[in-house]
């Protein structure tokens, strides 16, 4: 009873770290609700993925192969998951609050007429969950009614799962009604980068409007980013101004990150930005304005002109390593 189903999002035949977080959250939920933790892999050509999910200690991995599921589409994925949930008596569905998870879980909750716990940071045995609201200004405890529930978890709130088991794999087929599915995948323009993924990196260096233009991101910030082997992030202002692509935005409406080290450069630390990085272990701020709010959350603050400080820091880190 109380069985949990983890939606195992994958990209390019791999599970990103955010999916390992979902496995961990699923196991946590299963322990608290007193059930087993299963996972579901949707798509085509997913044998290796199904095996891998089983190795993360998922008791049963439901492998749903169907050409209509080759690309993620909210209508088809919702239909497939809802059918599986009903067939297998699942009580709790868990996904990570990635762009896909956020797109999918509300639709699934509506389909199941189930309560949704969106972007939650804590799952409790009493059926309550905790989540941030108002750009992280409020933590709310919510009770999810009934026994069927859908939860998306905040990727920074759980450790990634480790391989600790060997579950079984069950191939399941679903009936995807032809007329009901009208969404069509046209293409994905991927932002390619050799750097670590923003949501997986141990160190993140983010730039703000203080960088002044995209060129300075390249010539001033990137050398430090690469010296540290870090991922690059940005404020909304920097993205809006076109300095860097949208997928680098950190914050309330961008990505949520919690690396070991977060270095904020030339960004003021608006509440909407803090909402996406406040849980980082160590925060460093470099800003020429001593009054900038970012200093209120920084463990180490340096009041300085970034155009001088950032190249110096790159050199100092380089020296330290050699």
């Amino acid at each position: 009873m109380g069985d949990v189903l983890v939606f195992a999002e994958h990209q390019h035949g791999k599970f990103p770290k955010t999916t390992l977080v979902a496995f961990a959250a699923g196991k946590d939920a299963a322990t608290k609700y007193g059930g087993a933790c299963h996972a579901v892999v949707l798509g085509t050509g997913t044998d290796a993925l199904a095996n891998e999910a089983a190795a993360y200690g998922m008791q049963t991995v439901f492998q749903v192969e169907n050409p209509k599921l080759e690309h993620y589409l909210a209508d088809a994925y919702t239909a497939a998951l809802a059918e599986l949930v009903k067939a297998k008596g699942i009580e709790t569905v868990i996904a990570t609050a990635t762009a896909m998870g956020k797109d999918l879980t509300p639709r699934l909750a509506a389909r199941l007429n189930a309560p949704l716990g969106a972007d939650i940071s804590e799952i409790n045995a009493d059926g309550t969950v905790m989540r941030a609201m108002y750009a992280g200004n409020v933590f709310a405890t919510l009770k999810l009614a009934g026994t069927t529930r859908v939860i998306s978890v905040r990727a920074t709130a759980f450790e990634a799962a480790t391989k600790d088991g060997a579950g079984k794999i069950e191939k399941v087929s679903v009936t995807l009604a032809e007329g009901a599915l009208t969404m069509q995948f046209v293409g994905l323009e991927e932002m390619k980068s050799d750097r670590p993924v923003l949501t997986e990196a141990r160190i993140v260096v983010s730039g703000g409007r203080g960088l002044k233009n995209g060129e300075n991101f390249k010539t001033v910030l990137e050398p430090l980013v690469d010296e540290l082997g870090a991922a690059m992030g940005a404020s909304r202002a920097a993205v809006d101004a076109g300095f860097v692509p949208n997928d680098l935005q950190v914050g309330q409406t961008g990505k949520v990150v919690a690396p070991e080290l977060y270095i904020a450069v030339g960004l003021s630390g608006a509440i909407q930005h803090l909402a996406g990085m406040k849980d980082s272990k160590v925060i460093v701020a470099i800003n020429k304005d001593a009054e900038a709010p970012i200093f209120q959350v920084a463990d180490y603050g340096l009041v300085a002109d970034l155009f001088k400080a950032v190249p110096e820091m790159k050199e100092a880190v380089h020296k330290l390593k050699s």
Binding site: A99, R107, M133, L142, Q296
Partner: protein, 258 residues
């Protein structure tokens, strides 16, 4: 084309939010209220489509109060002043969860029969990011969330939408009617002009008691229940360092992160 654009009244994003001592909600004294920023973007997008497609109509819809301190009419008037043609307010003082909002919107869709519903991707108060997806499911319609570009086919029978996803930009296509939720970079919302504000006074703002929708079958019972709100744990401010060298030294020896 008939387009519905959804409007939620939320605290201005610049307002500092405090939790009431009893944890039942936020302190609303001295809060400035605005249209949810993402909904402003949604209204703007609806207006741009109307400007392109002759004979189009934009109707604003909201579920909320009609008296202080939660008078959504203020926000609807602003949207009308931006250029929307009319507005419908489903009147209730209850704070409704996204699923109930979506059910109420679905009722309005039944009667209004729009070709497109444009919504914000998230309300910046509850930060749920859910109502649009839920409405799409309740109607059995396609959805394109986190939109950064919306293009209609020449015959207005289908939409092609670029979405901001984790790894970049995804393109989706679907037949209308459908739901689009706006991301930050979809457009830059216009300000209401003075003539716009004058004209807005004459536009229709229809109020429907939520009870009327209940009589027509709306279920207002939620599936979640707020137990309590609390302020987030406070992060200790650290120290200022004098130089880059000192910073790097401390990160190495004290924080041990590089």
């Amino acid at each position: 084309m008939k387009i519905l654009a959804t409007v939620k009244r939320v605290p201005d994003p610049e307002t500092s939010i405090k939790v009431k001592p009893d944890g039942s909600g936020i302190v609303t004294d001295n809060v400035k209220w605005v249209i949810n920023p993402f909904d402003e973007i949604a209204i703007e997008e609806a207006l741009r489509i109307k400007e392109k497609v002759a004979g189009s109509e934009v109707v604003l819809v909201s579920i909320g109060g009609n008296a202080a301190p939660n008078d959504v009419k203020e926000q609807l008037r602003t949207g009308l002043a931006m250029g929307a043609d009319g507005a419908i307010l489903v009147v209730t003082d209850a704070a409704l969860e996204p699923l109930v909002v979506a059910r109420a919107l679905a009722k309005l869709v039944e009667t209004e029969k729009p070709d497109l519903v444009v919504m914000g991707k998230q309300a910046i108060d509850d930060d749920s990011n859910a109502a649009g997806q839920m409405l799409a499911e309740l109607l059995g319609w396609p959805q394109a969330t986190f939109a950064s570009k919306v293009e209609l086919s020449g015959d207005q029978k289908s939409a092609t939408v670029i979405r901001e996803v984790d790894g970049g930009l995804e393109t989706l296509r679907f037949p209308l009617p459908g739901i689009v939720t706006a991301d930050l970079r979809l457009n830059e919302p216009r300000y209401a002009s003075l003539p716009g504000i004058m004209k807005a006074r004459k536009k229709e703002l229809k109020e429907i008691p939520i009870g009327d929708l209940e009589k027509a079958g709306l279920d207002v019972s939620g599936r979640t229940q707020l137990v309590k709100m609390e302020p987030p744990p406070k992060r200790q401010a650290g120290k200022l360092v004098e130089s880059v060298d000192q910073l790097v030294e401390l990160l190495h020896t004290e924080a041990k992160v590089i």
